[in-house]
Amino acid sequence: MNKMKIISTVSALGLIAGAAQAGGHMSNDMTLVSWGGAYQQSQISAYTDPYTAMNDGVTVTWDESSAEAVAKLRAMNEAGNITWDVVDVVAADALRLCDEGLAMEIDPDEQLAAAPDGTSAEDDFGDLLVGDCFIPQIVYSTTFGYRTDMVPAGVEAPNDICDVFDLETYPGMRALEKRPINNVEWALLCDGVAKEDVYDVLETEEGQEQALAKLDTIKDSVIWWSAGADTPQLLADGEIFMGSTYNGRLFAAIEEQGQPIGMMWDAQVFDLDGWIIPEGLSDERKARALDFIYFATDTQRLADQAKYISYGPARLSSAPLVGQHATLGIDMAPHMPTDPENAKNTFLYNYEFWADYRDDIDAKFQAWLAQ
């Protein structure tokens, strides 16, 4: 018996013992928090169904509170009673929860699975590990969809972000999110600011005014949305010609409901969604949450989720495993925001910038809206 073998046997035994020991101390109830709808359904199919099948006796409760997760976690923390175990939030919220000390810090290499080829989790997720507490899951994008039957005759379908601001060629209502994030970037981009200078310009008073002035040119033709489902609904009703929303919502409207909607993709803004584990869980609950996270964010599971919804897996190693839609049977790769054909011109949500400027620019944006 050579030395290597002994070491591997010993460490394997150690692993089994470790797992058994941890298993004995893991809580059997787990409350997961997510966004509801098709997205949560994809998580149930890809993560929790196989997980509960593997772990007898584990029950999962879902709470559809991700939209208010930060406020609710803060309230739970003040009351000293955390009832959630794993929470699905966007990266910006994960960063804030981390800042507020409400989310647990994660060591990716220790607590997350390595890729099948041995690449460490840290390298596999790469730049998507935003902040110290965030465990990335998917890449989604905020992009525009338009009614294909409302494109004026003799005009090319909109394929440039600036078509949104071009009321002459593309008359009709638009839907934009009722917050400055993304809108001011697009406005500057279409007001002659180079992509790499956008945030430098936005830091200045003048830059913020410039963005609002550009938005002013279409203000009368805009319906402002606050829920991701609004734009697909407005498009389906024919209320608007084009509108921004999450790409998965548009995918559902186009492919699952057969609505006459086209994707624009130009200047789509990438954002991340993932898990955090709240700070202050008991040891048993924390062990269960970590065990679940380890399973649910491995390469295969992330690729599996893409069978149900058109969001890109956050791991590099998952990308080649993305297959076909579970029920529609269509290839999912071309519908991913990260597909090279779709990702010719993209933005990445600037977490650092918005953590600082969110309150300031939002105050100005809301004042501008109210005028």
């Binding site: 939209a67 208010e68 930060v70 406020a71 803060r74 804030r96 981390c98 800042d99 507020e100 000390g101 209502m173 009722k178 005014e209 319906i223 402002w224 606050s226 009703d237 024919g238 209320e239 650092e352 953590a355 600082d356 400027y357 969110r358 309150d359 300031d360 939002d362 105050a363 100005k364 809301q366 004042a367 501008w368 809206l369 109210a370």
Partner: protein
């Protein structure tokens, strides 16, 4: 008869004075009555009074700044905010030790978030500075460990610092920790500093005590064998640089005095850097006087800042001042909320009055059927009704379709009934209508129909009979309905959010935004408090003008 007049107080059957006996019986009755309402009273106190009190407190509370940076805020007191220069080295030094502790306890980012509400950029300033703060201490740690290698060892440190008589310092440092993270730092630290070392190296002792308390009570580790954190080395560097220290160290006889003498002999190898430069290296914004102004303005434990924000003002170095035009929003929203609530109340009166009149004057059987029609929407979920209005009001919606079909409206110019103030008024009038009809109905029910007939038989026209005889008697119902509708409308949130677009939203939508999105709960509390005060003021005015006795909810 004559007996009672002569023998003093009247006596009860058991011989006690009647007065006492009566008082006792009454007291028992009062207690019993109190016990009966106690559940309700408790319920009201717990679910109503306490939350309102905590909201009031939250709108002025601001302890986080002085609790997280106690030494820096104190040192900053003497800084002149109107000067265009950043504060002096003493403040930066205090900032370093405060921020170091806060960064270890992960409290610095909370403070950054808090101050970012007032000064854009503070959030990342605190986050990045906290992350890189270790580097500052390493500037001292590396040379110190090179000169005196024994100080690489945690046991050396423990032996050097331990002794007797230093409990007071440890307790004062513990108090600082407890201030920052309430209640987390009780128990035995496993360290008693020596009075000699405190006198010799005051900064080092304080920094070491900080570290020991955190290490023992937060991390649960044994301090006697572990290396202290970087701030302790920085403190040692500062202590050694003080003029009197060199002579004192040479005379010092305590444990590891020789290591200290090694250091004093090689002082020139220690870095000669100021914390001011170190912080400027971490982030240039630390030299920006505006950042320090914000910290100074918000260092008191209580602040009027949230209330000023809530009325579109801000705290500047010279006191309260108006915000720039492009950031003013709340006054406008308050006025709009009040105005639109009035419009909604008025339209409820206009629509509800005839309905209530018909209900009150129809035969019982028919009235009951109609009453169900009034109540049915009342029992339907608010969200469902608002969403239904969306389907009706949108440009491709039912109302516009019918108008276009009838030819009243051109297909290209469909009416915009939603995502503006019109949508909010229409939907909210419908939703709040039962609150107007019900009190009106119950008041009208009590007006005898004979009064109208009598008026007419005396020669009054229909209008005069209604206006002079019937209407004045129904005013208490209008009063009750108006108060209900108006106060409910002022706090409405869901309906304006869904159909209000941009110019149909209320102040409550901003409050919700600050509660759930921006997390600026202090500002949300201040806005809520102002809203509450406005409602109470209007109620008081109403009482003065109409008289609350004239309000009737029923016969």
């Amino acid at each position: 008869m004559s007996d009672t007049t002569t023998s003093g107080p009247m006596l009860a059957a058991d011989g006690t004075p009647l007065k006492t006996s009566l008082a006792r019986a009454l007291r028992r009755q009062k207690l019993r009555a109190l016990a009966l309402i106690a559940p309700l009273l408790l319920f009201v106190v717990i679910t109503f009074i306490i939350p309102i009190a905590s909201m009031l407190l939250r709108s002025v509370e601001n302890e986080i700044v002085s609790n997280t940076m106690p030494q820096a805020t104190e040192a900053l007191q003497s800084w002149d905010a109107s000067s265009d220069t950043p504060p002096d080295e003493a403040v930066f030094q205090a900032l370093y030790f405060d921020l170091f502790r806060a960064a270890e306890a992960k409290e610095h980012t909370k403070l950054g978030t808090r101050l970012n509400y007032e000064q854009t950029g503070t959030s990342s300033l605190f986050r990045t500075s906290g992350r890189n703060l270790d580097k500052v201490g390493e500037e001292w740690q590396d040379p110190i460990e090179d000169i005196a290698p024994a100080l690489k060892d945690g046991e050396t440190w423990y032996a050097m610092m331990s002794g007797t008589g230093g409990e007071a310092l440890l307790e004062s440092r513990r108090a600082l920790w407890n201030q920052m993270v309430p209640g987390d730092f009780g128990g035995d630290v496993g360290l008693t500093l020596s009075t000699e070392i405190i006198e010799l190296l005051p900064l080092t002792s304080a920094a070491y005590a900080d570290w020991a308390i955190f290490e023992a009570l937060e991390k649960g580790r044994d301090v006697s064998s572990r290396d202290p954190w970087e701030a302790v080395y920085a403190a040692l560097g500062l202590d050694l640089r003080a003029e009197a220290t060199v002579a004192a160290v040479n005379a010092y006889q305590g444990p590891h005095a020789d290591d200290l003498r090694l250091l004093t002999a090689n002082l020139d190898q220690l870095p000669d850097l100021t914390f001011r430069d170190a912080f400027a290296d971490l982030d240039e914004d630390w030299l920006d006087p505006e950042v320090w102004q914000t910290i100074q303005i918000y260092s008191p434990s209580y602040t009027s800042g949230y209330f000023l924000n809530a009325v579109d003002m801000e705290k500047g170095p010279e006191g309260a001042q108006a915000r720039p035009d492009n950031q003013r929003i709340y006054n406008k929203l308050f006025v709009r909320t009040l105005w639109m609530s009035l419009v909604i109340t008025a339209s409820c009166i206009v629509l509800g009055y005839p309905v209530a009149w018909i209900l009150a004057n129809l035969p019982m059987r028919t009235a009951n059927v109609l009453m169900i029609l009034v109540l049915l929407p009342f029992w339907t979920s608010l969200l469902v009704r608002t969403s239904a209005w969306k389907v009706l009001l949108q440009q491709q919606g039912v109302i516009n379709d019918i108008l276009v079909w009838l030819g009243f409206v051109d297909d290209a110019n469909r009416l915009i009934l939603m995502n503006n103030a019109t949508g909010t008024v229409i939907a909210m009038t419908h939703i709040l209508l039962p609150f107007m009809i019900l009190p009106l109905y119950s008041v009208m029910k009590t007006i005898p129909p004979t009064y109208l007939r009598a008026a007419k038989s005396l020669g009054a026209t229909n209008w005069t009979a209604f206006w002079r005889v019937y209407f004045p008697q129904s005013v208490p119902g209008i009063g009750a309905g108006s108060i209900l509708v108006f106060i409910l409308a002022i706090g409405y949130y869901i309906t304006p959010e869904i159909v209000g677009g941009t110019d149909g939203v209320f102040i409550s939508n901003r409050i919700a935004y600050h509660i759930s999105s921006s997390l600026n709960w202090g500002l949300a509390a201040a806005l809520g408090t102002i809203l509450l005060a406005v409602v109470l003021l209007l109620y008081w005015l109403y009482d003065r003008i109409v008289g609350i006795d004239n309000v009737k909810l029923g016969g």
